[in-house]
C-alpha cells in the first residue's frame, strides 16, 4: 500500500513544493515513492535520495518529459501507478494540469487541494474559496489527490536511503507542442514560500507605484504579491497574484496595501500568521482579517513605513 508522488522540478532542481507534498504523502503511508519524469534530471533524483521520508525514486529520463506536457506525462503516470493505491501531486499549476487527466483515464474521482490527511481515504479540503472546509471520503479503490503545499511542512533533507529505479518512457501522442516559457526572474524570495509577503492592490493606482511595495519588500526580504485587480489592471504580472485562482500563501507576515479584501483575495492569504492591512477606506473588508490595521493613505504611509524600518537594525533575513 505505497504512495506514488509525482515530483515537480525543472530538470535541474526539485521545486520546493514537492517537499510539502512528500510530507502529505507520508501521512497516508510511510512507503513514499517519488516519480521523476524529465530530461537529464539525474540531479533531481539525487536530491530526492537525500530526503529520509522518500523510500524509492523512480526516474524516467527522456526528451518526452522535458516540459511536462500533460498529454505525454499522464500516460506515464498511469502506467507507473499500476502498483499504487494513491497518486499524489502538488495542487499548483503543475499538478492541477495533469492529475485530472490521470484520474479520468483511471475512472477515479480526484480529491483536489487537500489541507489535511485524516486517514488513507479521508481528507479535508477547502471549498467556496476557503470559506468552508469539507471532510471527504474517497470510495475509489485508487485515489488521485492534489495537495495544497502550504498546509504541510516541507520534508527534511538530510541523508536518506531511498533506492533509485529506472522507468522506461512510453510512446507519446504527439498532439501537443511546447513553445516557450516566460518566467519572471526575481532576486526576491519565492511568493509561495517567503516568510514575509508585501502585496499591493488597485489602490496603488499604477505599475510605477509598485516601487513603493518593492522598496518595503526589499527591506524585509519579502516576496511581492498582488490582488487580482492589480494584475488585471496591468500593474504587475500574473505570477504575483494571491487568491482563489492565484497563489495561496501562508507567510509569518502578510502586508496588504491598497487591497480592499474581496473574498477571492482573502482565500489566498487569510491563513497567514500575522496580517497587516494599510487602506484608506476604514470599512474595507481586509480590516476584518487584519491583526493590525492602519487606516491611512498608502502614498503617505509607505514612505513613512520604509523610514521606520530603516531605523530598525534587526530585520531578520
Amino acid at each position: 500500500m505505497s504512495v506514488l508522488l509525482v515530483a515537480e522540478h525543472d530538470n535541474l532542481k526539485l521545486k520546493p513544493f514537492t517537499l510539502n507534498a512528500i510530507t502529505a504523502a507520508s501521512k497516508i503511508d510511510t512507503e513514499v515513492h517519488v516519480l521523476v519524469a524529465g530530461t537529464n534530471c539525474e540531479n533531481v533524483s539525487k536530491e530526492l535520495v537525500n530526503i529520509p521520508l522518500v523510500k524509492k525514486v523512480l526516474v524516467c529520463d527522456s526528451p518526452n518529459y522535458q516540459n511536462y506536457l500533460p498529454e505525454n506525462l499522464a500516460p506515464l503516470v498511469i502506467k507507473v501507478s499500476e502498483k499504487y493505491d494513491h497518486i499524489l501531486a502538488s495542487a499548483n499549476t503543475f499538478g492541477k494540469n495533469f492529475m485530472p487527466r490521470v484520474a479520468a483515464a483511471l475512472d477515479v474521482s480526484q480529491v483536489s487541494d487537500i489541507i489535511k490527511v485524516n486517514g488513507p481515504d479521508t481528507f479535508v479540503r477547502p471549498i467556496y474559496a476557503g470559506n468552508a472546509f469539507a471532510t471527504v471520503k474517497s470510495n475509489d479503490k485508487k485515489k488521485c489527490i492534489t495537495v495544497r503545499p502550504t498546509s504541510f511542512d516541507p520534508a527534511e533533507r538530510s541523508s536518506g536511503t531511498a533506492t533509485v529505479e529506472k522507468v522506461n518512457p512510453i510512446d507519446i501522442p504527439n498532439t501537443s507542442k511546447f513553445i516557450k516559457r516566460e518566467e519572471t526572474k526575481s532576486e526576491r524570495p519565492q511568493l509561495g514560500t517567503a516568510r514575509v509577503v508585501v502585496s499591493g492592490g488597485r489602490g496603488l493606482a499604477s505599475g510605477e507605484n509598485f516601487k513603493l511595495i518593492n522598496d518595503i519588500a526589499d527591506k524585509l526580504n519579502a516576496a511581492v504579491g498582488a490582488s487580482r485587480a492589480a494584475v488585471d489592471a496591468g500593474y504587475i504580472s500574473n505570477d504575483h497574484q494571491v487568491g482563489q485562482t492565484g497563489k495561496v500563501v501562508v507567510p509569518d507576515l502578510y502586508i496588504a496595501v491598497g487591497i480592499s479584501g474581496a473574498i477571492q483575495h482573502l482565500a489566498g492569504m487569510k491563513e497567514s500568521k500575522i496580517i497587516v492591512a494599510i487602506n484608506k477606506d476604514g470599512e474595507a473588508p481586509i480590516f476584518n482579517v487584519a491583526d493590525y490595521g492602519l487606516e491611512a493613505d498608502l502614498f503617505k504611509a509607505l514612505p513613512e513605513f520604509l523610514a521606520e524600518l530603516n531605523k530598525l537594525n534587526t530585520i531578520q533575513k
Binding site: R101, T122, A134, L253, Y292
Partner: protein, 249 residues
C-alpha cells in the same frame, strides 16, 4: 469550426456563503446565483472567434437543475447559437460531468470545447482535463490568450512561474483563465432574442453514463475564525507592534 462551451451555475462570487448548522453543506436557498466567472470568459472567447469568422457555431451546455437554463440563456444572449441543458437535480462530481460532456461531444462533434478553468463553488479544477483524457484530446489549461489556426490552437497559459506558450492539435480542450478577455454584458434586445434560440433538453439519467459520486462528503464546517485585530493610529505604532508584540520584524 464549432465550439462547445460549458457553463455552470454557481453561488455568485460576491456572496459570503454560510455553512449549514448540521454540517451537511452550505446554504444555497435564496442566495444569488450566477455564471461561474471563468465560464463567462469561455463564452466570450467562443463568441469572439465566431465574430472573427473563424468559428461557425457556438453551442452552450450546462448540467444542473432547471435553473441552469438561465445560465445557458445568458450565454445565448451574448452570442451562442444553441443551448443544451442536461437536467440533473443532484450534485455531480467533475468526473460525472466530464462523462456527460463526452457523450455530448460524441454527438455534437465540436472542434473545441471551452470551459472555465475552475468552478468557484467546489474549487475542483478538474472537468476540462478529465474530458480531455476521456476524449484522448490534447488540452490547454489556464488560457490567457488564444490564437486559433487551421489545424491547431496556440495558447498562452498562466502558470505559477509566469506564462507558458503551447500549441495543441485540434480537436482540443481549452480551459479559460479570468484574464483571457473581458466578458460583455447582454443587451436587452439580445436577451429577448435569446429566448427564441433553440434549447435542447436531456435528462442526465438518460445519457447512459454511471453518475454515482465516488467521494462522500462527511462534514462541512466553518474554517477557524481569526481573532479580531486592532487598528493602529500611526505607522510608528504599527512598526512597534510588529517588532515588540508580534515579533515578526
Amino acid at each position: 469550426m464549432k465550439i462547445l462551451v460549458a457553463v455552470k451555475r454557481v453561488v455568485d462570487y460576491n456572496v459570503q456563503i454560510r455553512v449549514k448548522e448540521d454540517g451537511s453543506g452550505v446554504h444555497t436557498d435564496n442566495v444569488k446565483m450566477s455564471t461561474n466567472p471563468p465560464d463567462d470568459n469561455a463564452v466570450e472567447e467562443s463568441v469572439k472567434l465566431k465574430e472573427a469568422g473563424k468559428v461557425k457555431e457556438v453551442v452552450a451546455i450546462s448540467v444542473g437543475e432547471d435553473k441552469a437554463q438561465e445560465t445557458i440563456r445568458k450565454a445565448l444572449a451574448v452570442g451562442a447559437d444553441k443551448g443544451i441543458h442536461v437536467k440533473a437535480d443532484n450534485y455531480i462530481e467533475p468526473l460525472g460531468i466530464a462523462k456527460i460532456l463526452k457523450k455530448i461531444v460524441d454527438k455534437e462533434k465540436p472542434d473545441m470545447v471551452f470551459l472555465g478553468k475552475q468552478a468557484i463553488d467546489d474549487d475542483c479544477n478538474q472537468t476540462g482535463q478529465m474530458l480531455a483524457a476521456m476524449l484522448n484530446w490534447p488540452q490547454a489549461t489556464f488560457a490567457s490568450k488564444v490564437n486559433l489556426k487551421d489545424k491547431s490552437i496556440e495558447i498562452i497559459r498562466e502558470i505559477d512561474e509566469g506564462l507558458e506558450t503551447v500549441e495543441v492539435n485540434l480537436p482540443a480542450i481549452v480551459t479559460c483563465d479570468l484574464r483571457l478577455n473581458q466578458p460583455r454584458f447582454a443587451s436587452l434586445p439580445n436577451i429577448m432574442k435569446a429566448k427564441k434560440k433553440p434549447m435542447e433538453q436531456i435528462d442526465a439519467k438518460n445519457i447512459g453514463v454511471d453518475l454515482t459520486n465516488r467521494i462522500q462528503q462527511l462534514k462541512v464546517e466553518e474554517p477557524p475564525k481569526r481573532k479580531a485585530g486592532i487598528k493602529v493610529a500611526s505607522v510608528a505604532e504599527l512598526v512597534s507592534k510588529l517588532k515588540n508584540e508580534a515579533k515578526v520584524i
